[in-house]
């Protein structure tokens, strides 16, 4: 089996679920992906579900609430909107929509029912959170009768980390024992249908470090066993090797000849070539070679997953100062449509 090409993996996708181990830059990648799609004229909703306010921090805007807010608009008509989905608000909205509760909603809140429903059964909370995303994916601009075009060309979900993602998406399994019937049950069924449809894919973000790669491999296995479609593996914070490999090999094999050369070169340009500096530079090269070697074996491990891989460079200046835009450029360049 060979790795499918990127355009096939992303063809017709409307829901991009972005996961990854904590600390790998999941939110940054989700934001860059949303921006890359907007560059191509799409109207994109970027949603977070853990109340971390990662999106507002990334775009440097005031904290997001449960209302969709426009974050970016492009001359070509593309837009990125953001939302921070909250389980309690989703439950109240849901009750309002289906039961016309009016003031009873407030009573429920005061009674602690909302707290209760959203905390005792994490499965129920997840149904509510993804339910909001489900609604956004399916929403159209028209009326009930004349549906009209879709409100969002794509929805990007900054999802929970790899350790929890399969459970999070597997809502119908989660609530199967808890709610065997009733609206939550049928909502979970509809959500599951959407998530298993080819229009939804999960992207896994990783770094070229041991633990994130391990979790990526585990998550890919779990997600595909559970029947979810996988999109890409995004290798984040890639550093291009700075020293040619052949040179690193010579440096390891003939340290004395190499040290002499470095000393001469440094002296030639007026840098004080103390033994400590020369040896230090060689030591740094040695460590770099080890790192490159480790990253290579991890790259092979990622490649063995047979998913299209996207590579994003490390942002030395952080995500501020147009960092996200630079990453979005990279994604477009690598063929994200």
């Amino acid at each position: 089996m060979s790795t499918p090409p990127l355009d096939r993996a992303l063809d017709g996708v409307r829901l991009h679920v972005v996961t990854g181990k904590g600390g790998v830059g999941k939110t940054t990648v989700a934001a860059a992906l949303a921006l890359a799609l907007a560059r191509q004229g799409k109207r994109v909703l970027l949603a977070e579900v853990e109340g971390r306010q990662g999106i507002s921090q990334t775009f440097d805007v005031p904290p997001l609430g449960i209302e969709e807010v426009r974050l970016v608009s492009h001359a070509g008509g593309g837009e990125v909107w953001g939302i921070s989905v909250d389980a309690k608000a989703a439950l109240l909205e849901y009750l309002q929509m289906f039961y016309k509760l009016g003031r009873a909603g407030g009573a429920l809140e005061r009674m602690g029912v909302i707290d209760f429903a959203t905390t005792i059964a994490p499965g129920v909370r997840d149904v509510l959170l993804i339910g909001k995303v489900y609604e956004a994916v399916g929403r159209t601009t028209g009326t009930r009768r004349h549906k009209g075009p879709r409100t969002w060309d794509a929805v990007v979900l900054d999802a929970p980390p790899t350790g929890r993602i399969t459970r999070f998406l597997n809502v119908n399994v989660q609530v199967a024992d808890l709610a065997r019937m009733g609206p939550i049950h049928s909502q979970a069924e509809s959500i599951t249908r959407m998530l298993r449809h080819p229009q939804s894919v999960v992207h896994v973000v990783t770094l070229l470090e041991e633990m994130p790669v391990q979790e990526t491999v585990d998550a890919i296995g779990e997600l595909s066993d559970a029947g979810f479609g996988l999109g890409t593996v995004v290798v984040n914070q890639v550093r291009e090797p700075l020293v040619d490999e052949a040179l690193l090999e010579i440096a390891a094999a003939e340290p004395e000849r190499v040290a002499a050369r470095v000393r001469d070169d440094l002296t030639g340009v007026g840098v004080r070539a103390a033994a400590r500096t020369v040896n230090g530079l060689l030591r740094e090269a040695h460590d770099h070679a080890e790192r490159v070697e480790l990253e290579r074996s991890l790259t092979d491990e990622v490649a063995s997953q047979r998913l299209p891989t996207l590579r994003l460079p490390v942002l030395t200046g952080g995500v501020e100062d147009g960092g996200i835009a630079a990453l979005a450029d990279q994604l477009v360049e690598q063929g994200v449509r």
């Binding site: 039961y99 059964a121 230090g280």
Partner: protein, 392 residues
């Protein structure tokens, strides 16, 4: 403007580990900063200086776990062979099994029939394996158990605890309270009211609201779900006292002078901001802070050469490349200089983040651990880390 001097109070971890009064070390910090590695390195160093140590890890990297001889998650401390033998020390390590720990709590606090009833309830299944905070709560519970065992059997005289990979470092302190207050929640009380003394009157007062609430919940979630919850909550009800009491005991344990908190961070803005919150929080809770460990700090093997000088020299060499020898070493020195300039930039950034932290927390002892080229997954690697911790 002159830069404030970077002069943190050094964190003397060897003294902390050697002090027989130190009974518990809690490693905390935000996710991905190397808490588990720090906990394991501290445990190893203490054992090799003669202490009898048990390390409780929450979610170790697979190879780190293997290096400690942890091949399965079985909730039991296992000896790490050959550590500390010559000096009379020993090292045990274990991985927390959250669900099993919860099961044990249930079993310890109820009759066998009642325990079986709780364990089989679908809500228990859900809460015990995924309630936000259960892992933190169970880590505390396990700490309490290890401490009791240490006192009873004299097996250990130092417990090192890793904390769960929470979204925020503070979750760890708040989780037990959250679980407690949830079980104390108004609606939960209401559901179980008939089972309590005076429950009828209570129910009467709230009867209108209660009816709306119960009807709505059963409409939305399904009636059977409500019945399951009721069974679950009333089954747990008898255990409430025990739950709360244990959480309180463990919380008090954390305030004792025998406990030392080590806040772990990485030299990045977010991780250090989180560390700062945690340091302040520990202080306001009256919990004993030993100091802060900043992991993975970039250091330079050629510190005398500045990054900008290296970059300039690389450029000079590249400009003169035409006249230089075109042998197999062509391009080597400029490449090494560019690598050095790159590392120097990272090192400067790390130093800046640490400096800002120190400026706001001058009184907090701090130790830094240099970044290593590869990931750590054997005892030798842990020894290197622990040596750096002690001198850092």
């Amino acid at each position: 403007m002159a830069t404030p001097p970077l002069a943190p109070e050094p964190l003397d971890l060897d003294a902390l580990l050697a002090d027989p009064a130190t009974g518990i070390i809690v490693c905390c910090g935000s996710g991905g900063v190397g808490k588990t590695t720090t906990a394991a390195a501290l445990g190893l160093r203490a054992a090799e200086s003669g202490r009898r140590v048990v390390v409780l890890t929450i979610d170790p990297a697979r190879r780190l776990a293997q290096s400690l001889g942890l091949t399965e998650l079985d909730n039991t401390p296992r000896p790490v062979a050959g550590v500390g033998d010559e000096v009379g020390g020993s090292l045990h390590a274990m991985m927390l099994d959250m669900k099993r720990t919860f099961d044990e709590v249930v079993e310890a606090h109820s009759t066998p029939e009642k325990a079986a009833q709780i364990l089989a309830n679908p809500f228990y299944q859900s809460v015990s394996s995924s309630f936000a905070g259960t892992q933190e709560y169970m880590a505390m519970e396990k700490l309490g158990q290890l401490r009791a065992q240490a006192e009873r059997e004299g097996t250990w005289n130092l417990i090192v605890v890793d904390t769960p990979p929470s979204r925020s470092a503070l979750d760890f302190l708040d989780a037990p309270k959250r679980l407690g207050s949830f079980l104390d929640g108004r609606f939960i009380r209401l559901l179980t009211a008939p089972a309590r003394a005076g429950g009828r009157a209570y129910l009467k007062v709230f009867s209108v609201g209660a009816t709306i609430a119960a009807v709505t919940v059963s409409r939305v979630l399904g009636g059977q779900l409500l019945a399951d919850v009721q069974t679950f909550v009333s089954a747990l009800d008898t255990m409430f006292g025990g739950f709360r009491e244990r959480a309180d005991v463990t919380y008090a344990l954390l305030k004792e002078p025998a406990t030392a908190f080590v806040v772990v961070a990485a030299p990045e803005r977010d991780a250090l901001r989180e560390a700062a919150y945690f340091v302040d929080r520990l202080e306001s809770e009256g919990m004993p802070l030993a100091g802060v460990v900043v992991n993975r700090v970039q250091t330079l093997a050629a510190p005398a050469l500045s990054g900008s000088r290296a970059a300039a020299a690389a450029e000079q060499l590249e400009d003169g490349a035409d006249t230089a020898a075109a042998d197999d070493l062509a391009g080597l020195t400029p490449a090494l200089l560019r690598l050095h300039a790159d590392l120097a930039e990272v090192a400067t950034r790390h130093e800046g983040h640490v400096r800002r932290f120190v400026a706001g927390h001058r009184e907090v002892p701090l130790s830094t651990v240099p970044a290593s080229a590869t990931d750590i997954h054997d005892l030798e690697g842990l020894r290197t880390v622990s040596a750096a911790l002690a001198t850092g």
